[in-house]
């Protein structure tokens, strides 16, 4: 064991020297070459890992150097530095570099290692204990996965959201997929949407540390992101109300924020909601009137549901809509006293129907009784 370590150590030193030469070609900084060699010779630790760390060979000689990079094209460099402290704090902290970079069989490696993929380990039935969910499968079907498959250079795969070497659990506040960090993570590509989102009520609430406010993934989902015309999408017209309902029917969240909670139920019972339910997709649903990323309160004069803007908003589908549409309550349930006059009309009919039904039943009973009486008194035939 000891012998082996020595042999490895020797090899590592030689590798370190080679690596440093490569570095010097890229940089021309002889000082760094010197220091790399010195570090190889003197058994002291770089910050963040010890000499005994099984990954030490990769780090010690090259990848722990913040300036370590490779010239991919004339004047273009690709950073090859790995922040090992971040790596150790990640969910993969106990792994070896070569656990993922399996094609590295000799250190220093002679060739550029192949791109690795999370599915190397995260597949059903893997023996290394990598957690598996159906998420990668969902991703493959999603807009991002499909774009990636087409070879779109901007399409994200796992690493764009989960990072490469510092993957953290979604419950970890430092993770880019932690709830509060999700909008910023998505913004690395969707920056215009992000600015809209920040202006809307959900973005504002999040900025005010309301952690339960909706973030991108609450509406769009994370891995099974589909375009809205796909029936599987959480934002397909037939699914929008249910997507909003995930929070907007939650009494505890809505009460804390002072938001009415019956809106979704009222929508589903309205003509628009019923039409959507039966597949009339041109019918209005939540976002037809409320907008989506930049959702604003009805008190905000910029909001499409501000009373002064309602004529225009309803006018998208109902060309004659005038300021009249603002005169009345929205999202009413007739059986609910909040419905105002509609509630009283509903109650009137409810009682009228009860009274009339009782009356007719009584009428029939009386009629049959009368016939029976007279038939008994005056038998026919």
């Amino acid at each position: 064991m000891k012998k082996l370590f020595t042999a490895r150590h020797l090899k590592m030193r030689a590798g370190g020297a080679k690596c440093a030469v490569a570095l010097a070609r890229g940089f021309g900084a002889r000082l760094i070459v010197l220091s790399v060699i010195m570090v190889g010779l003197i058994p002291i630790s770089w910050p963040g890992y010890s000499q005994r760390d099984p990954n030490a060979r990769c780090l010690l000689e090259c990848h722990a150097n913040p300036g370590f990079k490779r010239e991919v094209a004339p004047g273009q460099f690709r950073a090859l530095f790995v922040d090992y402290e971040q790596f150790k704090a990640s969910v993969h902290g106990e792994k070896l570099c070569v656990d993922c970079h399996t094609d590295v069989t000799v250190i220093p490696h002679q060739r550029r290692p192949e791109q690795i993929h999370c599915l190397q380990c995260h597949y059903q039935g893997n023996v290394v204990g990598a957690p598996v969910s159906e998420r990668p499968e969902k991703y493959k079907e999603s807009v991002h996965g499909k774009a990636f498959e087409r070879g779109d250079p901007n399409a994200p795969d796992c690493k764009n959201c989960h990072t490469v070497h510092s993957v953290r659990a979604h419950t970890d506040p430092l993770s880019p997929v932690y709830r509060v960090n999700i909008p910023k993570t998505c913004a690395s590509c969707h920056v215009e949407i992000y600015t809209d989102y920040l202006e809307g009520v959900h973005g504002q609430a999040l900025r005010n540390n309301v952690l339960e406010s909706a973030v991108c993934s609450d509406c769009h989902r994370e891995h099974d992101l589909f375009p809205p015309d796909d029936p599987r999408s959480s934002l397909h017209p037939q699914n929008v109300a249910n997507t909003c309902a995930r929070c907007h029917t939650d009494v505890s969240i809505m009460e804390r924020r002072g938001v009415p909670v019956k809106q979704v139920e009222a929508f589903k019972k309205s003509f628009h909601g019923i039409a959507i339910e039966f597949g009339i997709l041109k019918s209005a649903h939540c976002i037809s009137c409320h907008e989506y990323h930049k959702i604003l309160s009805s008190r905000d004069p910029r909001s499409p549901i501000h009373p002064l803007n309602l004529a225009q908003t309803c006018g998208q589908c109902h060309p004659n809509a005038s300021s009249n549409v603002a005169r009345g309550r929205f999202h009413i349930i007739p059986s609910d006293p909040d419905a105002g006059i509609v509630f009283w009309v509903y109650e009137f009919y409810r009682w009228l129907i009860i009274v009339m039904t009782s009356f007719f039943v009584l009428y029939i009973v009386l009629d049959l009784y009368g016939r029976w009486r007279h038939a008994r008194r005056r038998p026919h035939g």
């Binding site: 039966f278 009339i280 009345g328 105002g340 509609v342 009428y363």
Partner: protein, 235 residues
């Protein structure tokens, strides 16, 4: 008291009590109202298996709406024809004048109640149109006005948007559904009971189709009309 022989004869002999124009109007009303109820109930109970079945049977959600509006068109046409008939046809006008409510009708209704309860020995003497026909006629006249009014607001909502506030549409919807339910109850528990389901007529009375009534039934149910026809020698 007519002899047994006369009674037997008059039970076989029938007269045409309801003329053809009235029968046509009633039949158009029957078809349109049945369609309206079936397609209306489908929407009112959309969230139940019953409603979903009705919607499927009616050819889907949009077809259901189209069918409802076609039936509404038939109902409106029937209503207009009826108005023209009672206004400009001598026959129709005479029928209508007999349909007007009088204090006597309410007295007759009270007397009939007392008679059924055994508190009155004599049956009230009813004419061609008794309290039963009149109450039903006027109830349906009111229903049709309410249903056509609220239905128009919903049908032509895009036009009415320029005229009515938002709450008026919600009220129109509540009124349309409420009155529709009431009509269904009045039709089944009252109208259908009286004309088809009550003892002696069950399961069906074909007079809605041929307009005929037996002399004995006429004498039993409309004694004043019977007497009048007898005096004129029309029997």
């Amino acid at each position: 008291m007519p002899s047994e022989q006369v009674e037997e004869l008059s039970a076989e002999r029938t007269i045409e009590r309801i003329n053809l124009p009235l029968r046509v109007q009633h039949f158009a009303l029957l078809v349109s109202v049945t369609l309206l109820i079936v397609t209306g109930l489908a929407l009112l109970y959309w969230d139940s298996a019953f409603g979903r079945l009705l919607i499927a049977l009616e050819g889907g959600f949009e077809a259901r709406g189209t069918l409802h509006r076609i039936a509404a068109g038939l109902l409106i046409a029937t209503t207009l024809y009826h108005l023209l008939y009672i206004l400009f046809s001598r026959q129709g006008h005479e029928e209508f004048m007999q349909m007007l409510l009088r204090v006597q009708d309410f007295r007759d209704y009270g007397a009939a109640l007392l008679y059924d309860l055994g508190l009155r020995a004599e049956k009230p003497q009813l004419d061609r149109y008794s309290y039963r026909e009149k109450f039903q006629y006027w109830a349906f006249a009111l229903f049709i006005v309410v249903m056509i009014g609220s239905g128009f607001v919903l049908w032509f909502h895009n036009w009415f948007f320029g005229l009515l506030p938002k709450w008026a549409f919600d009220v129109a919807l509540a009124v349309h559904g409420g009155t529709g339910t009431l009509i269904l109850i009045v039709l089944t528990l009252w109208h259908l009971y009286i004309v088809h389901l009550s003892p002696g007529r069950f399961p069906i009375d074909w007079s809605f189709w041929d307009g005929k009534i037996s002399e004995s039934q006429l004498q039993e149910e409309h004694p004043l009309e019977y007497k009048r026809l007898k005096e004129k020698g029309l029997l």
